[in-house]
Amino acid sequence: MSKETQALPTDEQIDVSRRRALQHTGLAIAFLWLGGSGIASASINARRQPGDAQAAAADGNPPFAPNAFIRIDTDGSIRLVMPAVEMGQAIYTGMSMMIAEELGVGLDQIKVEASPPSDQLYGIPALGGQITGGSTSTRATWPVLREAGAVARTMLVSAAATQWHVDPSTCTVDRGAVHHQASGRSASYGSLAEAAGKLPLPDKVQLKDPKDFKLIGKPLRRVDSADKVKGATQFGIDVRLPGMKIAAVKACPTLNGKFASVDDKPARAIAGVVDVIHTEDTVAVIGDHFWAAKRGLEALDVQWDLGQNAKLTTQQLRDALADSAQNGKSIVAKEVGKRPEGGTTVSSTYQLPMLAHATMEPLNTTVFVTSDKCEIWVGTQVPMRVVDVASKITGLSADKIVVHNQYLGGGFGRRLETDSVEQAVAIAKQVSYPVKVIWTREEDIRHDRVRPMYHDLLTAVVDADGKPLWFGDRTSGGTVLGRWAPGAMGKDGLDSDAVECLVETPYDIPNTKIEWIRHDMPPGLVVGWWRGVGPTHNLFSFESFIDELAHKAGKDPLEYRRSLLQKNPRSLKVLNTAAEKIGWGGQPLPARVGRGIALGEPFGSRVCAIVEAEVTPQGEVALRKAVVALDCGIAINISSIEAQVQGGLLFGLSAALFSEITLKNGAIEQSNFHDYRNLRMNQTPIVEVHRIENDEPPGGLGEVGTAIAAPALANAIFAATGVRLYKLPVDRTLLVQNGDAMQHVVSSGTGKGRDVA
């Protein structure tokens, strides 16, 4: 360890740096519901916790388990237990890299495991529980997981040094072995596991100097890739158990409606159907295989009690929400200075739709309930919440609930909910065999917990140069936080997520007033977290509005933003980088081709996206290119950073181009990928990602691209057509060049002839 020249950090020093990292990265905004108490009480620790011995015993009882994350077996196996869940964001790889860097092993030498439910052992600092969300996993675990690796490495070195009667400081580690070069001795971690397991935990450990990092900052292949390209990864939906049956379900299509009655004979007449049962609001047909169950379900004529939403429409919701935004009593999230009396006023209204998550893996849960145990196999972002709901429904105590977390075929916030688990447990407790409940795609979309709709009133008072002297926003929508974590709401009732990226903007705007008007949706229309959460909403309105202000000031949108960023060098740098990489202001663009800028500071990162789009005379939008500049501080895996930003941006562009959930008669009208469209290969542009290198604490990544996508697109469409989009998704009818255009074949001409969206 001769290269490790950094001063020995004490526990206290590490805690201090952790606190500083949290403050720096703005975690205290959307997802921090423990208030201002600093370190969350239920959170990961680099050293063994009460309860860890039991967890390790249940996990193969390895001889060396110095904390909740590292298990080294006598045969040399090195197993890492992941506090966060893998849903595509490459967190298994990032967390493995943080541990492996300090432990002194390669990623080819480790195996990863999902963690069992435990807030105490696997709670994410900042979230106060075992929750994967809010782009917090890297930011919040960065100091702890490195320290966890260092604790293990220190003990393994001590064990070797004791056996060899040498000073531990003369030993080195390398690829899972301790070496003593002077005497030419080496010992594998496996051979040291028994001895290391008997040592006391070290009070102080030495973290590597970042300049000596061998894994962190490199483009490493994901630890889950090899199985995923072979179809060998087990997702929740792939679970198979002896004696297991499979259920297809249909909940009352009208939101909050209930089950009334059904004649189950038509289903039972179908070969392979085993049972027909119901819960309060759902009918389940259980079969030997999913096809029998689905056919059985389709054969039924279920009677529903439609309830109070029977006539509900999207327009009713929109009108009520608009009224709240205009006239509702607001909570002031931030007020600085006063609105000037004079000056020019600019006002705009922006509206965002409800959205479904549409994870590629439809929701599913496998449950086996016996008299004294409830076992659950599911891919979930909230394992402890799964335990809680299963305990309530079965009446079994929490220690009788066993959750086997699985790989998630996409999360995007949908698997922060437990509704599908509750339904499956309620079904499984009525039968004597294990049952896998699979939602059809139709069920998955019609019973999504949707991203809420929003209605935003933005106003600026600008000076003679067109720069904002005062900015005001009245935003209204349903509150996700208020339902999902009511304890995290502000004392005044403020939903901090609803105003994220408004209370802090990159720009130098001297006076501001940010207000939120709570507007609850009708019972049954449950709103949920959707990738990018508050920032995805507010950055669309705000960055579209900044673009409007630039246009009204007669300024280039790049120059206008630059003029407001003179006190913010980090964001100015991402703006300038993106502009330079796309060649802003260079060769003139063809007719009806435009570039749009969006800049933001979501999730502790700084990001600028510039989208180049072409709008056909018929109003179709073709994405030609996107350039993203990113400052996410210290990079863990530069390959997965690029992938997350590319994918995240396209996820946001997909929603902006195509997606809206609407209601008719209280039921979601969309049902599958034909009417809830998504971006496809032929519509995908080139996406460049340029990362600013620095040693700031790590920022969030999984949602950053998504949050910045829609405003960049809308601003590009404005640049191409002069049409400002005040509403998502993109309304092509507003973009038709003239009546004649519709006489021609739609999508006849684009630059590349392939990317008409």
Partner: protein
């Protein structure tokens, strides 16, 4: 009782002839690499090969298959192009959640079987039936080109740090 040839093995399955191949593979034979995404041939997650042709198994009645050979993600690596595509997927590190990737790889392999060196337009035509909600499309395109040409044109991921460097 139907006889099915899957990945070179013969299976006798007692299922109704209108049952889609997808559910026979997953729930009867126990090959779960082929995924359910939509059930209406809109997303491509269920893509398998039937005598080398890509088909959506979620809408393919098992009774219509006859003696045609079914190949799934579990065995496509035994074909030259399947192996190339899987290796390119690793080199470019395409996957995110990975749920759609079985279908993506089956579609990409079938494309290379037909067109050894596909253009962007060929890739669009062959791959636009496969949805990826993680939107890994940029890397899918790069991986297909790499599988076809052997030329590396995107950030390549390293399997692990070179030997001896983690200290």
């Amino acid at each position: 009782m139907l006889s099915l040839s899957v990945n070179g093995q013969s299976h006798q399955v007692d299922v109704p002839p209108d049952m889609p191949l997808l559910w026979v593979l997953r729930d009867v034979i126990g090959l779960t690499g082929t995924k359910f995404g939509c059930g209406i041939a809109q997303c491509g997650a269920c893509t398998v090969h039937l005598d080398g042709q890509p088909v959506r198994s979620c809408v393919l009645p098992v009774g219509s298959i006859g003696s045609k050979a079914v190949t799934t993600i579990e065995a496509v690596g035994n074909t030259p192009n399947g192996a190339k595509v899987q290796q390119a997927w690793l080199d470019v590190d395409v996957v995110q959640c990975g749920y759609c990737q079985s279908g993506q790889i089956m579609s990409a392999t079938a494309l290379l079987d037909r067109t050894a060196n596909p253009s962007d337009a060929d890739i669009d035509a062959a791959m636009s039936g496969n949805i990826c909600r993680c939107a890994t499309y940029v890397r899918i395109r790069a991986a297909i080109k790499q599988a076809a040409t052997g030329k590396l044109d995107i950030l390549q991921t390293i399997v692990t740090a070179p030997e001896g460097v983690a200290s």
